[in-house]
Amino acid sequence: MSQAVNIVLDRRQSKVRAPSLRLGALRGVVAPLVLLALWQFISARGLVSSLVLPSPVQVLVALRGLAESGLLASSIAISLRRLFLGYALGVAIGLPLGVLLAASSLARKLIGPSFYATARVPLLAWVPFLMVIFGIGEVLKLFIIAKAVLTPVTMNTERAIAAIPAGWRELGRMYRLSAFTSARRILLPATILPVFVGLRFGLIQAWSVLIVVELLASTRGLGFQLTMARQLFQLDTMMALMLVIGVIGFVLDRGLALAERVLVRQYGGGA
């Protein structure tokens, strides 16, 4: 019976990410492979109509078709361009805004409530509003992505700065450091990690919102292609596009995660 209990409350509770450098990684690869094989089997045998569930092979063929026609590359380019532009705008506004809110109590009282109130309105609810104001062109995408990024970046930045222990801020004054040196030596290292978390979260949000908007109100881009494929009932193309969207999102996230790890090594063990 203690065996059952051991299974029930396992001591080595590893994280959801299977450790990539140990034997557990093999197990992690097994399930998707098995599922993939199962999937191929089911559709190849015609157990489920290929209209409903195309086989993995068909999806890959569709993917290749998209790539060869150039549609894939151009759609990715369009979507990514929108993402980065919007992201840049959101960060450009969000970082200073966060600093401002943390630094000035007047700003906090004046702008803070409005900011947080609008932050409480979910992004999705903003979509129709922004669609009316900006139409369905590029500006819409730009602003909505910027809004998606703005909220987490601002909030995280403000919180990061507010969380700097007062003692550290005093250090700057004690040693009569210039504002610039203070910022570089104390402020930046102390806040870079939580700010980065906000930046990372903002990117994921931005990518999600971009897809939503492209699904809803677009004539180009990955989301639009997905909608088109849906209307034409081309499930294999749909799944190929979903794969691409997922992979891009994954790569973006992992890229930032790596950067975060580098930063942790440099600045970790902070406040």
């Binding site: 409350l9 396992d10 004046l110 409480r120 969207i245």
Partner: protein, 255 residues
């Protein structure tokens, strides 16, 4: 600074915006039919609240949200417990879960609309999925938060698995589970609105706001936006209250 001053400062910005907006509208600097005005927004509120159809639509949305979220929670908690407790199951499904975390959720909409149709079923399944994911991940975290030394106690007292589940695992994971349910409520509401945008038009406040958009009725859009936001806030408060009530008296929970 005293409270009145703080309050007025906080209101200063929105009031200024509203005043400017109204001024521009009243002096025809902007086209009211296109840009609306605060007065029109308030009127839109009034018209909507007086219209029984609005309330039907709103309750349709809420019912949909409740159904989908409940389904998602019911599915998510047991799955989360299993994944949290079993290293093997977790290792098997880890990559899939990781992928699920980074694929934008709305990417699933087109596929789901093919598989489950564009009607109510599709919407409910979508909402359920949106609710299940946070519950799943939070429950797993909740299980992780159970201290290992409690495991030894279980071994020592030779408790049966049912007892372990009832007395140790569920209460121990409760904060995580409740946090997951909290998120599920919020994401479920979001998914409801999203579903109403994407799936076939049906009654619901999401449909309303989209309809108003198509007619360029900015006043209605703003009014509905505020309603959606308010409901989100209410759900948040509700969830907070439930969390606090459930975990009362336990204080430093991971003791």
């Amino acid at each position: 600074m005293n409270r009145v001053a703080t309050l007025s400062l906080g209101l200063a910005l929105p009031l200024a915006v509203a005043v400017l907006w109204q001024a521009a509208a009243s002096t025809n600097l902007i086209d009211v039919t296109q840009w609306a005005s605060p007065v029109l927004v308030v009127q839109a509120f009034g018209t909507q609240f007086a219209d029984p159809q609005f309330w039907t639509d709103l309750s349709d949305s809420l019912v949909r949200a409740a159904l989908g979220t409940t389904l998602g929670v019911i599915a998510g908690i047991p799955l989360g417990l299993v994944l949290g407790l079993s290293r093997h199951v977790r290792a098997l499904f880890a990559p899939i879960l990781d992928a699920a975390k980074v694929i934008p959720f709305f990417t699933w909409v087109p596929l789901l609309s093919v598989w489950a149709g564009s009607g109510e079923t599709g919407k409910i399944i979508f909402i359920a999925l949106a609710a299940a994911l946070p519950v799943l991940f939070s429950t797993i975290e909740g299980v992780f938060s159970i201290q290992p030394r409690h495991r030894e106690l279980v071994h020592l007292l030779r408790l049966r698995p049912v007892t372990v589940l009832r007395r140790v695992i569920l209460p121990g994971a409760a904060p995580g589970i409740l946090r997951g349910v909290h998120l599920a409520l919020l994401y479920g509401w979001l998914a409801t609105i999203g579903a109403e945008y994407f799936f076939e038009a049906g009654p619901g406040i999401g449909g309303n706001i989209m309809g108003a958009r198509e007619l360029y009725e900015l006043d209605v859009v703003v009014a509905d936006m505020i309603v959606i936001g308010l409901i989100g806030i209410l759900l948040d408060i509700l969830a907070h209250g439930v969390e606090r009530y459930w975990l009362r008296g336990q204080g430093g929970h991971s003791a």
